[in-house]
């Protein structure tokens, strides 16, 4: 599940734990929710609420030392409005697949933004 993704990326050397035990990662309970940013941030909690995910997302996207935020697409769908309304170039928000939820291009925020170029419908009307 999500633990595996976090463990794997920590093995690759992107984990950061400061002296106050603040981590740059958060595992959101056992229902395949993961947020992760490079330099680098994950989410780690038990039964994390949507509000906690939103707060962590806002925290990671406002930090100066984070260049890329990785978020499982399943988690991103829980805070979709927040992810879609984010439009800064840095940190880059990348939606990645999780073990139980493969990547779906239809929900990707970047692809949704450019989708209208291939269709007469707007992104908003497509979602409704």
């Amino acid at each position: 599940m999500v633990q595996d993704t976090v463990t794997g990326f920590l093995l690759a050397g992107v984990g950061n734990v400061d002296l106050r035990r603040n981590t740059n990662y958060l595992i959101v309970d056992s229902t395949n929710l993961l947020c992760f940013s490079i330099l680098l941030s994950f989410f780690s909690s038990i039964k994390t609420t949507v509000k906690a995910i939103e707060e962590a997302f806002k925290e990671f996207t406002t930090k100066d030392d984070i260049a890329i935020v990785l978020i499982s697409q399943y988690v991103a769908n829980m805070i979709r409005f927040l992810v879609d309304s984010y439009n800064k170039p840095v940190p880059a928000i990348l939606e990645i697949p999780s073990k139980d939820h493969p990547y779906d291009p239809a929900h990707d925020s970047v692809l949704s933004r450019v989708k209208y170029l291939f269709s007469a419908e707007s992104v908003a009307s497509g979602r409704r």
């Binding site: 595996d4 463990t7 794997g8 093995l11 992107v14 035990r21 890329i68 990645i96 990547y103």
Partner: protein, 245 residues
């Protein structure tokens, strides 16, 4: 091409546009489509790398035990990230706005990170290139690895006296390969340090999983750069389409 459709700037070009502007629009559209295709291909590649990594982690967990292979072991003590991303600005063309460019710095500690945008991949040092050309599909790392493999083969040939090199060329090639070997040793040490959190003896599958996730990280940085290129070309296409609305 058909006459321009105002609701879809990707279709058609107005007949009365000068040829130069028409060429620029087409170039931007091609760049956008190329970036889009590259983005989807890289995401597919990332999915494969992650699946490989998950499978190897599952094998490692089976052989070592689930309590030994867990992320909780990694947050017991303070540690700084050994793998980071360097951020720079890239300008493509005279009219384009600068966009962010991400470079992965693997297994490098803070003291050794250079201020210039050097790229460290598997112990081989590459110089970052600012390119004003259209971005090509495919990993910059693969191109860099090819360059390095050719450089390595050249240094090997120099050692075996297969090629007739001057003493200066010979020494520079040897020093390059020595530096690369030293960097590789440093990276191996840091890889083992990351693995040592899980115990002194770890399953080979855990090492393989580490490599898979390193590959996934490289793909992620490529995706970030492609995303940046995609959004930049998207905004250019939108700007170009405005006069026809």
């Amino acid at each position: 091409m058909q006459d321009g459709d105002s609701s879809n700037p990707m279709q058609g070009v107005a007949e009365d546009e000068p040829n130069g502007e028409c060429g620029d629009r087409e170039e931007q559209a091609l760049l956008f489509l190329d970036s889009l295709d590259g983005y989807l291909a890289l995401l597919d590649s990332l999915s494969s790398s992650l699946r490989q990594g998950w499978l190897e982690l599952a094998c490692a967990r089976q052989s070592m035990g689930s309590s030994r292979v867990s992320s909780t072991l990694l947050d017991l003590k303070a540690q700084s990230a050994a793998t980071t991303v360097l951020l720079s600005e890239l300008v493509e063309g005279s009219s384009a706005d600068p966009r962010p460019h991400f470079t992965l710095s693997k297994w490098a500690c803070l003291k050794e990170r250079k201020s210039s945008s050097d790229e460290l991949i598997d112990g081989k040092l590459l110089e970052d290139r600012n390119s004003s050309q259209l971005r090509h599909r495919g990993s910059k790392h693969i191109e860099g690895a090819r360059e390095n493999s050719s450089a390595s083969s050249e240094s090997t040939a120099a050692d075996l006296n297969v090629r007739d090199l001057s003493p200066t060329e010979n020494s520079s090639a040897t020093s390059e390969s020595t530096a690369a070997a030293e960097n590789f040793c440093i990276f191996q040490k840091r890889r083992y340090k990351a693995l040592s959190v899980f115990g002194a003896f770890v399953s080979p599958k855990l090492r393989a999983a580490q490599f898979s996730f390193e590959t996934a990280l490289e793909t992620i940085v490529e995706i970030a750069n492609t995303r940046s290129s995609l959004l930049s070309s998207f905004s250019q296409v939108q700007k170009d389409s405005k006069p026809s609305d």
